[in-house]
Subunit: 206 residues, 2 copies
């Protein structure tokens, strides 16, 4: 069995991070290959022949290439299921639906916040400007939603990959010193401390 | 059992269309309520108390409110499963993964194409300008991917909700007279002719 993950060489893609964490939480061994997106390495024909959309991350499992991090996590949870490997999603249909909702939302909304508080500002160099009105509005919706969703240590009874995605989105505010309620700061810190996330951060810091 | 779908009053949201089609393909009865997004009806507190992110569409099933169309389709497929109701996703894990990949991709990429060939130009009034370089690049990636994915009448052995989503994205080019290979035009036309899609179009035209 072979697993290969293509990630961005700067390690700033929150979606590559999400798949990396999913693989680590599953305890799976995988090869990691990085692409220099600044040099448009994802547009070269050899990559596009596998990753049809030219996007990063891409997971190749025994020759089957799949892009889009949420689709990859779902696939991993089906092919390497609990309890042999840790579940990436909750089991109860409504919880699972909300986990999918959160993943889909974080990938398709909050554009101003994602631009002004890029993951570069999370991992390498803090943002220098205050949030625009549009990004402020995104931040307010994000914080209001997170306050409603997060009750205990995680979104649901147990950890799920949606926790990682939500924590990364919240970290855009936390790491840049934008106002975030203490409860949500604690949530981000808890997610950040997971071994799977720490393994990713090591690659940035070395 | 009660099902209520919140859609946009202009019927231009491709995501509301996707959920509407999913419900119709399942043969489910549902109440339809429209929100005037131009008047920011999705931001009012009563709506936000249910639809936490303030997004459209939102499906409310026996008091459980869920947003994000791909999460809603997955939920419907789990709660109202085949064979009693038509499957919305393929069963084989790799096919299912690709269906999810396509849905996630169409929701988070191709931004220039989506802007310059909005669904308003698909349903109401054609675009007046040629595609910019960025939108042209999006169109090329979309067409190349669709050519690789679509082999027969559908993406997979049987129809899936990913066919509807892909056909709507391709229709942005087809309806505006942008170059599209005949095979893909035929695919869009076939998807457009489904009763479930025709039911949606009736609401635009009345
Ligand atoms: Ca670089
Ligand atoms: Ca909880
Ligand atoms: Ca209106
Ligand atoms: Ca096929």
């Amino acid at each position: 069995m072979s697993l290969k993950l293509y990630a961005d060489s700067a390690f700033t893609s929150p979606y590559a991070l999400s798949v990396f964490v999913a693989l680590k939480e599953k305890g799976l061994s995988f090869e990691l290959e990085t692409l220099d997106l600044d040099a448009a390495a994802n547009k070269n024909p050899a990559y596009r022949s596998q990753a049809i959309t030219g996007r990063v991350p891409c997971l190749v499992h025994d020759g089957f290439a799949l892009t889009e991090s949420s689709a990859i996590s779902e696939y991993l949870d089906q092919i390497f299921p609990a309890p042999a490997q840790r579940a990436l999603y909750p089991t109860a249909p409504q919880d699972r639906a909300v986990a999918r909702q959160i993943q889909a939302w974080l990938r398709s909304d909050l554009a101003a916040l994602r631009t002004e508080r890029s993951t570069h500002t999370v991992f390498y160099q803090r943002a220098e400007r205050p949030l625009s009105a549009a990004a402020q509005e995104d931040a307010e919706r994000l914080l209001a939603a997170a306050e409603r969703w997060i009750q205990g240590s995680h979104l649901f009874e147990d950890w799920s990959i949606a926790d990682t995605d939500l924590a990364v989105m919240l970290s855009r505010l936390v790491m840049n010193g934008d106002p975030v309620p203490q409860k949500l700061k604690d949530y981000v810190a808890r997610q950040w401390q997971r071994d799977s996330v720490q393994e990713w951060l090591k690659r940035i810091n070395r």
